[in-house]
């Protein structure tokens, strides 16, 4: 795969002004750049309360004590960080369309699109000092499975290096992969899943596990236009890129219409499954610019601000 920069300077600058946001701020382990719902240790005054034994004497409001002769403790806003989990599907189905695909364009390559998206989201979270973990789901390649957790802008290069090293290969059982990620016992946070969702077993169980563990999940479904409206014709033997399973079809206008309707129904079903669980769902077709997903779609859903 040609090593070209995942995104250019202009895109990078526009990404720097963004911040990832979860609907409910999760308790951060260290100070971050978000205001926490908890009272904390920042310099911004929030409230006072009655002193109770054991409170830090440095926070006692001596002026109030002098006026009111009651010990009061000053409370400050707490600032926290966000745990950002970016999960990228690196199964073979993401390696599409290939150059030999009928009517397929290399510009529509799904995995390229997904890596750029992943890198963009990771870059935003590093810029805002969030705790970033990037994990590839599935694939049997030798590339590392996970990058992070890391924090701070300084890890941008490492992130890009990790992204460049990723290869789409092998199979993925999305349900199992999401479930096992939820059970890993990490600090829950905003979980961004980038995948084509071509998983015969679905992903409902995996989503349930993530949501149950307290993750706020956003799914970006990456599809090539060739998958939405196939340009196939004639008597064909379709080979599944992941499993190698064959499916014989005789492509004609009727079958094509049927397929297009089927894809629409499938995506509608996914959207409903996600909505029921409070999961954000974004459709991304790779003939549109990948930045649009961040700058428009995720912003609209409030995941990016």
């Amino acid at each position: 795969m040609p090593e070209q920069p995942l995104f250019d300077e202009k895109t990078r600058r526009s990404l720097e002004q963004l911040i990832l946001q979860a609907a409910k701020v999760r308790a951060g382990a260290i100070k971050g750049e978000r205001r926490s719902i908890k009272r904390g240790t920042s310099i911004e005054f929030a409230d006072t309360r009655a002193y109770s034994p054991g409170d830090d004497l440095r926070r006692l409001d001596w002026n109030a004590y002098a006026r009111l002769e009651r010990p009061l403790t000053r409370l400050f806003e707490d600032e926290e960080d966000l745990a950002v989990h970016v999960l990228i599907d690196s199964s073979a189905s993401m390696d599409y369309p290939r150059p030999e695909t009928d009517g397929g364009s290399p510009a529509h390559h799904k995995f390229d699109f997904a890596r750029r998206l992943m890198a963009g989201l990771g870059y935003i979270s590093l810029t805002t000092n969030d705790r970033l973990t990037v994990t590839r789901l599935g694939g049997e390649s030798a590339a590392p499975v996970q990058y992070g957790p890391v924090r701070g802008r300084g890890h941008g290069a490492g992130l890009l290096q990790f992204a460049a090293g990723l290869r789409a290969h092998g199979t993925t059982d999305l349900n199992a992969a999401l479930k096992s990620y939820a059970l890993r016992g990490q600090r829950p946070g905003l979980c961004l899943v980038i995948s084509d969702l071509f998983s015969p077993t679905g992903l409902v169980d995996g989503l349930n596990a993530l949501v149950g563990k307290g993750y706020e999940v956003a799914i970006v479904q990456v599809l090539a236009p060739e998958e939405v409206e196939p340009a196939l014709a004639g008597d064909l033997r379709l080979i599944d890129s992941e499993t190698g399973a064959a499916q014989e079809i005789s492509m004609d206008a009727g079958l094509r219409d049927l397929y297009i309707r089927r894809v629409r129904a499938w995506r509608d079903g996914l959207r409903q499954d996600c909505a029921k669980r409070g999961v954000h769902y974004v459709e991304a077709i790779t003939d549109a610019p990948w930045e649009k997903v961040i700058l428009y779609d995720l912003r609209r859903l409030g995941v990016v601000r």
Binding site: A92, S93, M94, D95, Y96, P97, R98, E100, T101, D102, K110, D196, F198, P200, A224, P225, E227, V228, E229, P230, A231, L232, A233, G234, D235, L236, R237, L238, I239, D240, S241, E242, T243, A245, A246, Q247, E248, I249, S250, M251, D252, A253, G254, L255, R256, L258, Y259, I260, R262, V263, W266, I285
Partner: protein
Amino acid sequence: MAFLTPLAVIAAALAIPILLLYMLRLRRREVVVSSTFLWGQVLQDREANTPWQRLRRNLLLLLQLLILLLLVLALMRPYITVPAVSAGQIAVLIDASASMNATDSADGTRFAEAQRRALEVVDTMRAGDSMTVIRVGAVPEVLSPYTDDRAALRAAIQNAAPGRAAGDWNAALTLAAAGALGSEDFAAVIISDGGIDEADSLPAIPGALQYLPVGASGSNTAITALATRALPGQPPQAFAQITNYGDADADVIFSLRADGALIAADSYTIPAGTILTPPIDALPVGFAALEAAITFPAGSAYRDYLPTDNAAWTVSEASAARRAILITEGNLFLEQVMRILPAVQTFQGTPDRGLPSGDYDVYIFDNYTPTTLPDGDLLFINPPVTLPGLFQVGAESEAAGNPRVADDPRLAFVDFSTVNIRAFRQVTAEWAEPLIAADGGALLLAGEIGDRQIAILTFALADSDLPLQIAFPVLISALLDWFQPPGALADSAGVRAGEPLSIRLAGDIDAGRVIAPDGTMRPLTGEGAERFFAATDLPGLYMLELFANGEVVERAPFAVNSFDPAESRIAPRQTVTLGESTLDDQVEQTFGQQEFWSWLALAALIVLLIEWVAYHRRLNGPTLLQPLVRRANAGVR
């Protein structure tokens, strides 16, 4: 139904390669897609929705097998047995005479009906039958030689057209009989309206004879004669004859045109089966051509089914004839021979009245020597006295024996060996040479002075037995032809349609052509002075143009008419007599085989088109619709 070539069923084995190819073709092209799990769902949906899907998938194979089946059936040449007109080696003689133009047939004309019946004979040919088609016109024509190629036979029959002349049945039957030689199952089919004249003299034809009559009615009125003559001192006269051949009285309007100008138009009623000679007033002097026509008043109940004989043409007799004057005290032999000579108008005078004032081409002086010479060619017969400066007449010699004819083209066919002459005069002329000489002197002198030809016969016709000999008209004719070469046309008024015309080229005329009534131009055929023109099928006025050095030097009209009672009498006959056999329209029950492989081939072609459309719909349907669908979806997004 049976098959002529049942072995062609072997071709059905081609189904095996078709099936093999189909299986090979279904070794589908492999395409890698990201995932097939949606495709699997789509196929489940489809098979649940459309039970015909399995059939549709094999539609192309079924269509291809159907095409093969139809083609194999066509190759096996299936046929059904139908009643046939004739079988074996068949000669179909189609009457193409003038009467076949009659319009009393449901097919339009009798000839069209004859064509239809001939095509029926073609359709019912059995395998192994062969057929020839002969068009019986003025010159019989073999339209198709013996063949079993039905398409060629059909084309030959359909391209034939009726003529305007009588048919030459003698030649046609001889032609057909020639084809019958050596054949055991020869059959001749005569398709005619029965207008076969000279039926008794027709050659006998071996084998089966079949007569298919055509035509329904005999109602026809025709102009059967038209002629002109010009007598000295009188205006030209014309004679016409109209014959009603039908069974009903005919009301006709007879019109006569001279050089295109109407000079008479009268209405007559001609009783059934009678001849009318309409009175014709004096014709204008100097006309060249005459056209007579009959038409039928509007609303007349009389039906004239043959329109081609309703007009006739002739040319002025004077326009082609030479004028000769005979000055004699009375010479029966000479008058008689001058009357029978063609294309010569003879006038007569007597010596006591002197030279006539008219202008004549040839002057014949019998036993008379004029004092002044007229301007023209001269023939002196036994001149009594010397004409100074021209000839000297000497003493009379007795009994000239052993006359000798000089080897001269002017006397090429004159045989004087049996002519006896009792006495002749000794005539001398320096300008003349003796063409016929006897022991005592010249019997015939001839020569030219200036541009006039002069001949002198030195004995009185009464003093010899020459007038009783065949040499006499030959000699007079030869001399007149020398004086005045006859026109190019021997007979300009009486050419019958379909007959060839002989045309003489005289002097420096080297080429000629004829302009037919329909405007077509044809050159004369033949070599030398005698040329021929045979394309006289169309009645009407023809114009002969003669060329010398590429320029027209003479134009002579001539008329061609049908004038054939056998053709104008169009009543169809149900029996004809050929030699000793009488033929009627009773058809012997013969069976033929009607094939219909061409329909099977047509059906195969149609199925092939359907297969092609089905194939392209399947192959190109998605790609044709794709841009539209994509655009529509983009709009929704």
